[in-house]
């Protein structure tokens, strides 16, 4: 099973970028690809890993790069920089969830993380223009990448 997981909070501007990519792909995902929208606690992502041969994760990030920049990390080979995906000192973020899954032996063989650099994370449903363009471009790239898998 191949799985694509969009992560985020649709009510917080560009934090909805991952969800937007999942929504775009759900309209045109190749057969055999499971599209998941994850709006819950990052640690619960581990459940979305179970039974998957490959997982693509898409989330918004804030690193200081220009809005719309897409960061790609092969998490099957590299540790995720925690600061890129840190949401809270209270909870494990995306990086923590992936490292916990790795420690538990529950990380799928292939895990690719895409982080879309957000611009504004205030209340509201709209993506900023650069981020919206990035979600469309990434959806097209992922569609081709997943199809080739």
């Amino acid at each position: 099973m191949l799985r694509l997981v969009g992560i985020g909070n649709r009510w917080r501007g560009d934090d909805g970028a991952g969800l937007a990519v999942a929504a775009l792909l759900s309209e045109r995902a190749p057969a055999g690809v499971d599209i998941v929208v994850h709006e819950r606690e990052p640690v619960e992502l581990i459940e979305t890993f179970d039974g998957a041969a490959a997982v693509w994760l898409v989330d918004a990030v804030r690193s200081g790069a220009p809005p719309g920049t897409v960061h790609r990390i092969d998490a099957s080979e590299h540790f995720l920089p925690a600061e890129l995906f840190s949401v809270s000192t209270h909870r494990l973020g995306l990086a923590g969830a992936i490292e916990l899954a790795r420690a538990l032996g529950r990380l799928p063989p292939r895990v690719i993380v895409h982080g879309i650099e957000g611009e504004r994370f205030e209340a509201g449903e709209e993506l900023s223009p650069a981020v919206e363009a990035a979600t469309r471009q990434l959806a097209a790239t992922l569609e081709a990448e997943v199809a080739a898998c």
């Binding site: 640690v43 619960e44 000192t89 209270h90 490292e99 916990l100 420690a103 538990l104």
Partner: protein, 433 residues
């Protein structure tokens, strides 16, 4: 001639507490001269921006104080407003709110016991490192947290910052069938929780007892969670929530952005699992009491390092009671009752996972909030935590610095401090002179 030596041990980042802070311990010639729990997370001014808002808004505004215990803030807020306006919420709606609160206890206690505190006892720097050696433990923790999260989602609308509580009741009462979906997960969680008590009871605990007043909410026949008519202590305190300000006072210390709370007339006190266990042990469910007995616990438990066992017993209680509340739930005729504002002052107290949480509001006849005071458990525990640190360091001077630092961090985590609530994370400094 005595030799005066100063030594500094400093841990700049103390992990696995909620919020941002630091700790400083100074040791001069083998004596501890300074202990400061430095909470440097900026103040967040919640009390100030509640002023001018409608009395019905406090529930959702104060929820934002904490991502771990939002229901605690919500319940203390609605209780204060309801008592102020002469309304009592009981029957199925109260039970539903208590069930939601049990969900928060399950989630919060599971997080602290397994992911934050257990690594101290088992010698790991993080839950991730612990997961490599003890995968079953962490898998169990995730299952428990999920059971709690599900309760929060089904009743609260979502697992973090639930949106279903309101002054007068809830916005929407779930059906019996919706609640029944939670039972399987909770039954599994109950087995795990019972196992967790036995597991943590076998950890190694430093030999240390504290003699501090333990303060908790009390309700006849029930373990204190969502509400209660009295505030009681191991030193004989027995007051109503409106009398709280007469007995407890907040003061500012230079090294912390969180106010310290003390008993009027001086003296530290402690709220949280040890306090509830000491004052309401008999109201734990039979299963939780049995688990406590099996772990060799008897009230009052005065070794703060054993709070992890007490917390596990409370976890059994919360899961066990949640299952009962679901089984006995009857859909209410109406999800809420109308609450008309009246000018006055209201007090609301509930038991957050970390301890007693007090809210006080003054509103006018239109329901506009004129004044708000919120006293979270971590503020109340700060003085006692510092006293504990002092005592623990004094007894552990022979330890090498790195080990002493770890022991200090473990001591702080005995209290599952939520620094975000108190003003968020800790840095540790030890000076040896």
């Amino acid at each position: 001639m005595s030799e005066s030596r100063t030594k500094t041990i400093r841990t700049d980042t103390l992990a696995r507490v909620e919020g941002e802070g630091a700790m400083h311990v100074r040791i001069e010639s083998g004596r501890v001269t300074e202990v400061e729990l430095r909470i440097y997370e900026p103040p967040r001014f919640f009390e100030a921006f509640l002023r001018g808002r409608d009395f019905g808004e406090a529930v959702d505004i104060t929820s934002r104080i904490c991502g771990i215990c939002p229901v605690a803030y919500q319940m203390s807020a609605v209780t204060a407003m309801e008592s102020l306006c002469g309304v009592t919420v009981d029957g199925p709606v109260r039970e539903l709110r208590r069930l939601l609160y049990c969900g928060e206890w399950i989630e919060s206690h599971a997080l602290h016991i397994f992911m934050l505190h257990a690594p101290d006892f088992l010698g790991f720097d993080s839950a991730v490192a612990m997961a490599r050696e003890h995968p079953a433990l962490v898998t169990d923790a995730l299952a428990l947290k999920k059971a709690g999260n599900e309760v929060m989602r089904v009743i609260g609308g979502r697992e973090i910052h639930p949106v279903n509580l309101r002054v007068g009741g809830v916005h929407r009462a779930p059906s019996k069938r919706e609640l029944a979906t939670l039972t399987n997960g909770l039954e599994r969680a109950r087995e795990i929780a019972v196992g967790a008590v036995a597991l943590v009871a076998n950890l190694e605990f430093p030999d240390y007892e504290q003699d501090v007043e333990l303060v908790a909410l009390a309700e006849p026949g029930r373990y204190p969670i969502d509400a209660g008519p009295r505030i009681v202590s191991t030193a004989g305190l027995d007051i109503t929530p409106p009398e709280y300000p007469d007995h407890f006072v907040e003061s500012h210390v230079p090294w912390s952005h969180a106010l310290h709370s003390q008993r009027v007339g001086g003296g530290s006190y402690l709220v949280g699992p040890l306090a509830r266990f000491a004052t309401s042990f008999e109201h734990l469910t039979p299963l939780a009491r049995e688990a406590a007995a099996g772990a060799g616990l008897r009230p009052p438990e005065r070794n703060p390092f054993r709070s992890i066992v007490v917390r596990a017993v409370e976890l059994v209680h919360a899961v066990d009671e949640a299952i009962t509340l679901i089984a006995e739930y009857e859909e209410p005729d109406a999800p809420s009752v109308a609450v008309e504002p009246r000018a006055g002052v209201g007090h609301g107290v509930s038991e957050a996972p970390r301890g007693l949480l007090y809210h006080r509001y003054e509103i006018d006849a239109k329901g506009t909030i004129l004044d708000a005071t919120i006293i979270p458990p971590t503020s109340q525990n700060q003085t006692a935590i510092e006293a504990d640190l002092r005592a623990v360091v004094e007894r552990s001077l022979e330890l090498p610095d790195a080990e002493l630092s770890r022991r200090c961090e473990q001591t702080i985590r005995n209290y599952d401090p939520c620094i975000s609530c108190a003003t968020h994370f800790l840095t540790l400094e030890v000076d040896r002179c």
